[in-house]
């Protein structure tokens, strides 16, 4: 080992503070530059005043936050929360079944199945959403097939509905649910299940009383990974949604670009961030941090 490397390592060993700085430094810098700084700028903009024709005047005001209680904004917010929740529940239901099947019955092809789950991510989000537009349009693939088969007389309105948005969201975010659930199910100790069986638990009881509680961490992290981006999603409601499916992400974008009211858009965006932070805190209370906590304990 070259001398300088030896010196560096021993210096780090004797000064644990330095080691922490070297290990965490890049991540902290990254977070500050790309998350905290923009958030700070956003927070500053949210208390500014809009000038003529959408310019920005550096006069401080809380007026933008007063407009948050605007009934239109609240209606859009409630609609977004409802659709994000629905997406999460649907992802959880179908994702759990899929992850369970792969973990339990995947055999030696497990990794292939996981790859298939991730595969769609190799193409652009935009292209995949456009594909859904082609499928769901009034004279798209699905309607045309059903019309040709005589199942339908007139095309079903599928595209530009809330249903289309939810389909798009579930399709896009399902892998975020499957992967943590798979990890949780894969690491499930089979001996515990065997013990439950020995003690007379039926398969349903085993699932309900053993598997489910032990995979709660995976369910929670999967739900967060699906819920948070669904709530702020812009592209999918923009393309698959219609006149009646304005969601919060698009509404905020509208304030910035369509109405050129940056301060109000920033205030709305921060309110959304605050809602997400509250939900994440709730998640930590629910035990989402248990594993992290255990890791900390082990480190000691």
């Amino acid at each position: 080992m070259p001398r300088w490397r030896h010196r560096l390592l021993s210096a780090l060993r004797h000064r644990p503070g330095w080691a922490v700085a070297v290990l965490l430094g890049p991540a902290v810098l990254w977070l500050c530059a790309l998350t905290l700084l923009p958030m700070g700028i956003m927070a500053y903009y949210s208390v500014l005043t809009r000038g003529p024709w959408g310019t920005i005047i550096h006069t401080l005001t809380l007026e933008n936050y007063r407009q948050v209680v605007d009934p239109v904004f609240l209606r859009v917010l409630v609609r977004s929360l409802r659709l994000a929740l629905l997406t999460t529940v649907l992802c959880l239901g179908s994702g759990y079944a899929l992850a369970y099947w792969i973990a339990a019955h995947g055999g030696r092809h497990k990794h292939l199945y996981l790859l298939l789950v991730i595969l769609p991510f190799w193409t652009s989000d935009l292209v995949r959403t456009y594909a859904w537009m082609t499928l769901l349009a009034d004279h798209g693939v699905i309607n045309n097939a059903l019309l040709a088969l005589g199942v339908l007389q007139t095309p079903l309105p599928l595209l530009h509905t809330e249903g289309a948005v939810v389909v798009g969201l579930v399709y896009t975010y399902l892998p975020f649910m499957v992967l943590p659930l798979y990890a949780a199910l894969e690491h499930l100790d089979r001996a515990v299940l065997a013990a439950a069986a020995d003690l007379g638990a039926t398969p349903i009881e085993r699932w309900y009383k053993v598997t489910l509680p032990l995979t709660r961490g995976g369910m929670l992290s999967g739900s967060v990974l699906v819920f948070v981006p669904s709530l702020g999603e812009f592209l999918i409601p923009e393309l698959l949604g219609g006149a009646k499916t304005m969601l919060i992400g698009k509404f905020i974008a509208l304030k910035f670009t369509g109405l050129r009211h940056w301060p109000l858009g920033a205030a709305y965006a921060l309110v959304l961030v605050a809602i997400i932070v509250v939900l994440l805190l709730l998640y930590l209370r629910l035990g989402g941090n248990k594993e992290a906590f255990q890791a900390q304990e082990l480190a000691r």
Partner: protein, 396 residues
Amino acid sequence: MQKHTRTPLDTWVEALFAQRLSRRHFVQRGAALGVATSLLADIVGQYDRAVAAEPGPTPQVLERIKAEGRRLFIYNWEDYVHPQTIPRFEKIYGVKVTYDTFPSNEQLLAKVQAGGAKYDVIFPTHSFLPIYIAQGLLAPLNHEHLPNLVNVFSTFRNTPFDPGNRYAVPYSWGMTGLAYNTKYTRDDPRIGSWALLFESGPQRYSGKLGCTDEREEVIGAALQYLGYNANSRHREELRQAGEVLLRLKAHLKAFYPGAEMRKALITGDVVVAQSWNGEVVKAREKNPAVAWGVPREGGTGWFDTMAIPKAAPHKFTAEVFINYMLRPDVAANNANTTGYATANRVAVEQYVKPQVASNPAIYPPAEALARLTFLETIPDDLLPVYDEIWSRVLGA
């Protein structure tokens, strides 16, 4: 500057900007159009004839383009030039062009206002020009580099939105009216009126109605349906227009940007829509059942321009490009494919395909022209009123 003689077409285009037209003027202009059409017919034969070889760029021009790095960044509407327009420019001038598209004027303005996006040529609509100019977002044009500006209709060369073309050069113009699919509307008595959208729409075509996504034009259509001026500055009239739109909203499929509107009209996903004429012209090529007209209560007119943002890194190259776009053959090629009328007089007279030049959905009869209102810039004190209406309509 080279002078051109006034033709009937000039008089005709002037009608676009006439605020009030007397009955007599009306007839005169109708006659003017008749003359214009026959004039066009005479010139038809010239179209396919080889375009006189334009003298290539001088070494000085090429030298300056090279000094700027032989790059050009263009920000335009989707499907708004002939597919060969940009490759030809790249070849003639040895420039590498980056061509991006934007979906709406608001988006374009927001991007230019934010700075950072270093585009060299942008295509704002006339009513937004005063905003750009007032905020000092555009670089003044050097007319010495734009000798082809004389090809543009004289009416477009001195508009109240940008007097004397100091900052922007007209590209093409169009109309916002009523599109409908005759397969579904058949002989609906409300055809020819905004009532087709606002009255029979909810009953007969619920869920199959569409609107553009340009705020001023959607609100303008509602104002015209109510019998008000599309440029109304009365809060009460605007409030009523907002109510009309909220009622329509329950039956509306979506607010479409241009190309999306075209697709929805072709497939029949949308049966009645407030739409730009050019999208309908292009939709009709695929689906002949799609028709378009200026409603009897009036439609809105607009023209798009080419301008150079103040922060443009390749200003000279941008001017060379604008001058190239003003070449009659280039302008005609663009007009032949986009479905919108070119602002280039020489192009219309000599190069635009006859079936395009005689298409009433592109070059409408004078009486339809007289029903157009050109949208004006929203005064700043009314902006919050428009914002609120639009937020409520979109968010509901």
